[in-house]
């Protein structure tokens, strides 16, 4: 080849590469965006989500942003949760528990509602929908808790519960999605639900313009029961796995609304976008093997406590989340029904104490914990790696495995390959948190039980809303004492939006802004 020139070639490459990279990169970090930002278009709203749902069937939906966005657009819930957290009529006009004990629930449906596939809203149809939901949904247990569904009129039903559920109305809002009624016509032929929509929502999926897993295009539903509520002609939802890429797309006027993280917040603000934040997630390490089945050390309370003492929550939070999170030692967001300010100082960072506790438990030389992590929420894998380095410091080796898909992640936990995991859970009332995190199931695969905890859960479920908080605070304290978890922060949700896009509001009770409430202002 070209021996004579190679020497110079190499030097040239090195210099060009360095200059190009340096120019491009440093220029970016110091500079602000070039030129003004485009204003929000009044016709079209473009939303970026990080991962697509596998199916458009609302019965197969997950909860929370960004997973629920697509269903919010196409399916009207029985009950709307408004941005301020209050409830408003959706497909149901009236609802409520009958009597005491949170067990019997009546629903009255709206008259004259048709679905986009031509089906009509009837009590029978809603019952069929609930039955379908109960048979296929990952959250099927919510409906399996229905003792019976009685059609009491063409547009009225009565639901009788097996166990009390104080949050049944909330469950039927778009935020938990169990009330996203599917057309009875489509229920006859459920295969179509994966790639098309059959709701009674404000928008309908344009299948021709939609590329599954990539771009979903919705157009306004001409037959919607409340045409005035519709603010957009078109809503496009684009899948952009990387939030940094999504922010780039916002800068190039391809996206109007996205979910970010602390990593983008500052840059987004500098670029002139609106950044809205609200405490949203509580992050924790779940020490799953509390019985010491796989890793005996975890069966020792002192060890679990040591692991709590080993984490410097303050620097972890400021390093990873900056201003967009605050250290926390509880399973709830501040202000929620079981949150107790006084519990915040239980496990102050104290590695020496942690080591002492380990030594006391007979693990002075440490042990190994397999940990699973998956980036369902921003930063979860980063936290896992950070926790690992703290635990390393007290002699506990943490083998972090980052799953490539949520399925792999689930397998790892269900198969007990991982005995701990990092998770960031959305702010919810403690009833829902307890039934998910404390009861046997995916979040408690080893079926850990504690008589006191179980008793408090049951007590809370049946209590009325005035008595519940006190019971839940007690539960919180008990869980913390037993150190089933190592909570570390309450984390802000960061949504980034284009100037001129209005209606983005988050409150502690309503943390997933529903795009149907957005508008382009004037």
């Amino acid at each position: 080849m070209f021996h004579l020139s190679r020497g110079r070639s190499l030097r040239l490459i090195a210099i060009t590469a360095a200059v190009a990279a340096a120019a491009a990169l440093t220029g970016c970090s110091s500079g602000s965006s070039g030129g003004g930002l485009a204003e929000q278009s009044p016709d079209t709203l473009r939303i970026a989500i990080s991962s697509p749902p596998a199916s458009l069937d609302p019965a197969l939906a997950g909860n929370g942003d960004p997973l629920q966005i697509l269903y919010e657009l196409a399916y009207d819930p029985l009950i709307y949760q408004l941005p301020d957290g209050s409830f408003a009529p959706g497909l149901a006009t009236e609802w409520g528990f009958v009597g005491e004990g949170n067990k019997v629930f009546d629903l009255t449906l709206r008259e004259g509602v048709t679905f986009t596939d031509g089906g009509e809203l009837t009590a029978e149809g809603v019952k069929a929908y609930f039955e379908y939901y109960g048979s296929v949904s990952g959250f099927g247990s919510r409906v399996q808790n229905f003792e019976s569904i009685d059609v009491t009129g063409p547009l009225s039903l009565r639901i009788t519960l097996k166990e009390p559920n104080p949050q049944l109305a909330y469950m039927l809002t778009q935020d938990l999605g169990t009330g996203n009624v599917i057309s009875p016509v489509a229920l006859e032929n459920v295969e179509t639900l994966g790639t098309s929509t059959a709701g009674a929502g404000q928008y309908v999926l344009d299948e021709t313009k939609t590329v599954a897993n990539q771009t979903y295009v919705f157009t306004a539903n001409p037959d919607y029961w409340n045409p005035d509520a519709i603010n957009w002609e078109t809503i496009e939802v684009k899948v952009l796995a990387n939030t940094a890429a999504a922010l780039s797309a916002m800068r190039t006027n391809q996206i109007d609304y996205m979910f970010g993280s602390a990593k983008e917040a500052e840059a987004a603000e500098e670029a002139g976008f609106n950044v809205t934040t609200e405490p949203y997630l509580f992050g924790f390490v779940s020490l799953l093997d509390r019985g010491g089945e796989v890793v005996p050390a975890l069966g020792d309370l002192r060890v679990r406590q040591a692991l709590n003492y080993a984490i410097d929550r303050d620097s972890l939070v400021s390093g990873l989340f900056g201003d967009y999170a605050s250290p926390s030692q509880q399973l709830l967001l501040p202000g929620a029904d079981g949150y107790d300010e006084s519990l915040e100082s239980a496990y102050t960072y104290d590695p020496d104490k942690a080591r002492a506790l380990l030594a006391e438990a007979g693990y002075a030389d440490g042990f190994t914990i397999p940990m699973a992590a998956y980036n369902l929420q921003p930063g979860e894998t980063d936290v896992a790696q950070a926790i690992a380095s703290y635990w390393d410091a007290i002699g506990v080796t943490t083998e972090v495995t980052v799953a490539q898909t949520i399925n792999d992640y689930a397998q790892m936990i269900l198969n007990k390959e991982a005995v701990s995991t990092v998770f960031e859970y959305g702010g919810q009332p403690f009833y829902l948190v307890a039934t998910q995190l404390l009861a046997p199931g995916f979040f408690n695969p080893f079926n850990s039980t504690d008589p006191e905890i179980s008793a408090l859960i049951a007590e809370g479920a049946a209590a009325n809303s005035d008595d519940a908080p006190a019971i839940y605070k007690e539960l919180q304290a008990e869980v913390q004492k037993e150190a089933w978890f190592a909570p570390f922060a309450s984390i802000d949700k960061v949504v980034i939006s284009r100037p001129g896009l209005e209606g983005i509001q988050m409150t502690p009770d309503s943390l997933n802004p529903n795009p149907v409430f957005f508008s382009a202002g004037n």
Binding site: G31, G34, A54, E191, A245, A249, N407
Partner: protein
């Protein structure tokens, strides 16, 4: 020539068969299946088992394959296990994106590469050195890294090109071009350098050949020598490399599509494999193989067009 093409086409049928069997066999070893994926992490084992039966995933591999083959004979590639979309629809929806990207990058690589190659074959040291540097850089700079750099500079900094997304040609030809500019640039760097280097070497080889010397000695003008005779002789090698580049770009598109969020076959390939959506994987494999077959065929036809020896034999 026609016989050659027919032969190629006939050979490709068993090829498709082999590839589809290979994919089926490979996937049968993959632990877990789509049923688990669809049911979600919180589903009970009974629920998953029910789904598995519904999807036919409980059948032995050969039976699943026979079913699939049956579908193929009816002109279908089955439906996605995840959302029930017909595989052919999903693929056809994404094919234009991937083809735009891959054809675009091959064409750009060939044009730019040939121009650079010809210039450097004519020039003295500096031009040759430039190609040298470029060719190592083309190998050394990973496409996805270049893509990030391009986004930083041209989208975020200068705002000239969109950072992500694809606009169909039918919707807006100019936006189509703009949406492809950066991905094509990122994907074609390797190709540009490979073609430039090959072109230069081929041109130099040809220029050293007897017939070029004779043309020059008998007064044929330099422009005719370079563009008519030397370039055409070099074209055989250029076409070969272009064909290989096309196939290489097909693989490279997977990462590039991911970086730019393009709705192409590559992103589908990644999501289908991670979610074990077998009919989809199978369909992508078939499409990719078909594309490779078509490219090879096109290469052969190009050979024949360039070289009379191939045409007449």
């Amino acid at each position: 020539m026609l016989i050659l093409i027919l032969k190629r086409v006939l050979i490709s049928i068993p090829l498709l068969f082999v590839v589809s069997v290979l994919v089926f066999v490979l996937q049968s070893f993959i632990p877990g299946d789509a049923a688990q994926q669809i049911a979600g992490p919180q589903a009970s084992p009974e629920m998953v088992e029910k789904l598995r039966e519904a999807l036919g995933l409980n059948l032995p591999v050969w039976e699943q394959y026979a079913r699939w083959l049956g579908e193929v004979l009816h002109g279908s590639l089955g439906t996605s296990l995840l959302n029930g979309q017909p595989v052919i629809d999903a693929l056809n929806q994404r094919l234009p994106t991937t083809l735009s990207l891959v054809i675009g990058s091959t064409v750009i690589a060939t044009i730019v590469g040939v121009v650079l190659g010809v210039i450097s074959s004519r020039g003295k040291g500096a031009a040759a050195r430039f190609i040298d540097v470029l060719s190592i850089a083309g190998l050394a700079v990973p496409g996805f890294w270049l893509a990030l750099l391009l986004i930083t500079v041209f989208s975020v900094q200068l705002g000239i090109f969109p950072a992500t997304g694809y606009v169909a040609f039918a919707d807006s030809p100019s936006e189509w071009l703009r949406s492809l500019a950066l991905p094509v640039a990122a994907l074609s760097l390797t190709g540009v350098t490979a073609i430039a280097k090959q072109t230069r070497e081929a041109m130099l080889d040809v220029q050293a050949s007897d017939f070029i010397r004779n043309l020059r000695a008998n007064g044929i003008p330099e422009s005719a020598i370079v563009f008519r005779h030397a370039l055409r002789s070099s074209a055989v090698r250029i076409v070969t490399i272009s064909g290989l580049l096309f196939i290489g770009a097909l693989g490279g598109s997977v990462v590039i599509e991911q970086v730019f969020g393009l709705p192409g076959l590559g992103t589908l390939a990644v999501s289908a494999t991670t979610s074990k959506d077998l009919p989809m994987i199978q369909g992508i494999a078939v499409y990719f193989t078909l594309i490779v077959i078509v490219v090879n065929l096109a290469t052969d036809i190009a050979y024949g067009w360039i070289n009379p020896k191939v045409r007449t034999s």
